[in-house]
């Protein structure tokens, strides 16, 4: 085949993907950005507002609360998930008996829909008949049941734990793929050179794992920023709005029929995800790896 024909064929095969990205990702994002400059409320005439929606957001205390929660949640849950995922991956990468079965079992939480695992955790945290209080009372740690979701720290930690339980396997599997791509010879050489296990981890494993680690961090960060299910199911944004994630806040405005303001909230969320993504890519030199 001639080169020109080659690239035409390539384009044809890429066409479905490009169309999908265009129709289902680029168009809605562009639409939402346009929408965020309008007053689009079902019971009022549509009107161009410029940046007024964003100006209102700056003064909106519930919005501040949501941004604070969303960022804290991301910075607490992602490092935890990546650290745990790395430990899982390192363990699963060793020749263990029944390793295949273990690797499959690790994936189970990730396969459960977030709403379902959220409901499970809500039952665990339940004040009257939850597992957590059963344990606390049976072990005699506390005399009275604990209202786990009753303080802002408690509610926050409960959400981070529920999220980490579900997504750590995802990080573990990605990192495991990265680990198995590192040739054994490198470790053999390192051993001959007299490197300790810790030195091998720091000098061989980590640098070679960096691109994969970046992918895991990137995916998890974007996902954590968009957190919806666990907060919706476990705390409903409470108590006192302390766990009202940005996506939940935007959803409340869409549901109220205020599409302009809801879009502005979504645009802020999109911008946050974009900034953090660029930061990661820059930091890791991931862009160079890709090209």
């Amino acid at each position: 085949m001639k080169p020109a024909q080659d690239s035409r064929t390539a384009l044809l095969f890429l066409l479905p993907l490009l169309l999908t990205v265009l129709i289902f990702i680029a168009a809605p994002v562009a639409g939402t950005i346009v929408e965020s400059f309008f007053r689009d409320v079902t019971f009022l005439p549509r009107r161009f507002l410029g940046v007024d929606n964003f100006r209102s957001l700056l003064a909106d205390r519930s919005f501040h609360q949501s941004v604070r929660f969303t960022l804290l949640f991301t910075f607490a849950s992602v490092p935890l998930e990546v650290a745990l995922g790395l430990i899982f991956a390192l363990v699963l990468n060793r020749p263990l008996p029944g390793r295949g079965l273990l690797r499959a079992a690790v994936l189970v939480p990730w396969a459960i829909p977030a709403a379902v695992s959220g409901r499970t955790f809500e039952l665990i945290y339940n004040y009257s008949y939850g597992l957590a209080n059963y344990l606390v009372l049976t072990l005699g740690v506390s005399e009275a049941p604990v209202n786990w979701l009753g303080s802002s720290y408690g509610a926050f930690a409960s959400l981070v734990i529920a999220d980490a339980w579900r997504t750590t396997p995802f990080v573990a599997i990605i990192l495991l793929a990265g680990l198995s791509a590192i040739p054994d010879e490198l470790y053999d050489q390192a051993t001959i050179d007299g490197a300790t296990g810790l030195q091998q981890f720091a000098r061989v494993t980590l640098p070679l794992l960096k691109p994969v680690l970046t992918v895991a961090l990137l995916f998890r960060t974007i996902d954590a920023l968009r957190v919806f299910d666990v907060a919706y199911v476990i705390t409903g944004g409470g108590p006192g709005g302390s766990t009202n994630a940005l996506s939940l806040y935007g959803y409340q405005y869409f549901l109220s029929g205020d599409f302009g303001y809801g879009s502005a909230i979504s645009v802020v969320l999109f911008a946050l995800a974009l900034i953090l993504s660029i930061f990661y890519v820059r930091l890791s030199g991931f862009g160079r790896v890709l090209t």
């Binding site: 079902t42 009257s128 109220s256 205020d258």
Partner: protein, 425 residues
């Protein structure tokens, strides 16, 4: 690659886009949500309508969750879709739906056949009748007759102070053998139910959310109500600590039904459940109007579902026929008997068979006359979300009641200013 292969691939991509075209036809779409058992009854009723009139009806089954039902209507209406033609709306959506121009006024004013207070509060807009009540709800006090008697109380409490003291006495007595027993269970989690519970306590002290068309949240009666509710959890400790984190209708109903509480605030639906086989409290439950503060009157928040027709319907005559059918005496009576739904029609409350099978209905009718509506405003949901967060923070004990009310008021004013002027500041 052969040219024909390219064409076939291309066609495969494009063809599905045209597959969904449909011929329009004169059939009604009726959107209705609820528990599966409820929907089965609806299906049967709608089928009978089709047989009687020859009008084909497609039932659009929606979930039970009220937010998801709202979302399921918001999207087609915003897109001006002809379907669904007829739907049920939660009482708090009515203002938004009619202000958005989504409802076709009902042509004949039959409102005198319905509960007048309910219709006047929510169904009218600009002289037009926009919707009719299919099912009417109001907050009630459920109490354990056997326990009140055992502890020497003559009857259910008339004032909130009596409620707190009866709850305290019985709770202390029952705790000996029943460690998870509570005096009073109500809805305090951060969701719409909290507004309902707060509003009826506030109204029973002479308070409310709107006064002469303005929001006046921070006023003595409201502070008193919120302080009382917070005190139930933290001072009297007759309501559990998870009141403000987990207590919604079903959690409250289950706990009461398992015999774990003396008093319960809930909607009328809980009655039939409490009387069902397998309920630990069957035959031991009484209902009463909610208590009030001295000098105030008992109040109950109005809930329920109303039927309306979409402005974008392509079959208005058939849609009107369906509304007439659903709100007719025989259908309303059947829904009362089979679903325990409290009808919007007045005449059903006088029907001997209904009264024989649902003895509490006469009492409910009186409670409906004390019903207070949540603000009938198109942006009620925004207002409610803000208020939920601040009330809930007060119940958690994080901010004093007056500060919570003041903050909520400031935030609500900022939001509503955007809707009044259309330009934010």
């Amino acid at each position: 690659m052969k040219r024909s292969t390219i064409w076939i691939l291309g066609l495969c991509l494009v063809l599905p886009l045209f597959g969904c075209r449909q011929q329009p036809e004169a059939r009604l779409t009726f959107a209705i949500g609820g528990a599966p058992a409820e929907l089965d009854v609806w299906e049967e009723l709608v089928q009978r309508f089709s047989e009687q009139t020859g009008i084909a009806v497609e039932m659009l089954r929606q979930p039970t969750d009220s937010n998801q039902r709202r979302q399921g209507l918001l999207i087609p209406l915003k897109a001006r879709q002809a379907d669904p033609d007829v739907f049920l709306m939660d009482v708090v959506w009515l203002a938004q739906f009619s202000a958005s121009g989504w409802l076709l006024p009902l042509d004949e004013d039959v409102s005198d056949q319905f509960l007048p207070r309910v219709v006047d509060l929510v169904d009218r807009r600009g002289g037009n009748l926009m919707a009719l009540p299919v099912n009417v709800d109001a907050g009630l006090l459920y109490y354990r007759k056997d326990l009140l008697k055992r502890y020497g109380f003559a009857g259910p409490p008339a004032t909130w102070a009596e409620l707190a003291s009866q709850a305290g006495t019985v709770q202390a007595g029952e705790r000996g053998e029943h460690s998870g027993f509570w005096g009073y269970l109500w809805q305090g989690a951060e969701y719409e139910g909290l507004i309902c519970d707060f509003l009826e306590v506030a109204a029973s002290a002479g308070g409310g959310i709107v006064e002469n068309g303005r929001f006046v949240l921070d006023r003595p009666a409201n502070r008193r109500a919120l302080a009382f509710l917070t005190g139930l959890i933290h001072d009297e400790a007759v309501s559990p600590p998870n009141t403000y984190t987990q207590m919604r209708e079903e959690e409250v109903r289950e706990a009461f039904q398992n015999g774990r509480a003396l008093f319960e605030r809930n909607w009328p639906y809980a009655w039939a459940q409490h009387q069902s086989a397998g309920s630990a409290v069957a035959g031991k439950v009484g209902i009463a109007p909610l208590p009030h503060f001295p000098g105030g009157e008992p109040a109950a928040t109005l809930g329920g579902w109303h039927i309306g027709i979409s402005r974008y319907t392509d079959t208005p005559e058939q849609a009107r026929a369906l509304v007439r059918y659903v709100t007719s005496f025989p259908v309303q009576k059947e829904m009362a008997l089979r679903l325990g739904w409290n009808p919007g029609r007045r005449d059903v409350y006088r029907d001997p068979r209904v009264l024989a099978e649902l003895p509490y209905l006469g009492q409910l009718r009186e409670i409906f006359d004390h019903a207070v509506a949540r603000p009938v405003l198109p942006y009620y949901n925004q207002l409610s979300q803000i208020l939920q967060r601040h009330l809930n923070a007060a119940l958690a004990g994080w901010v004093p009641p007056e500060e919570a009310l003041r903050k909520a008021q400031a935030e609500i004013e900022a939001v509503t200013a955007r809707y009044r002027t259309g330009r934010s500041r």
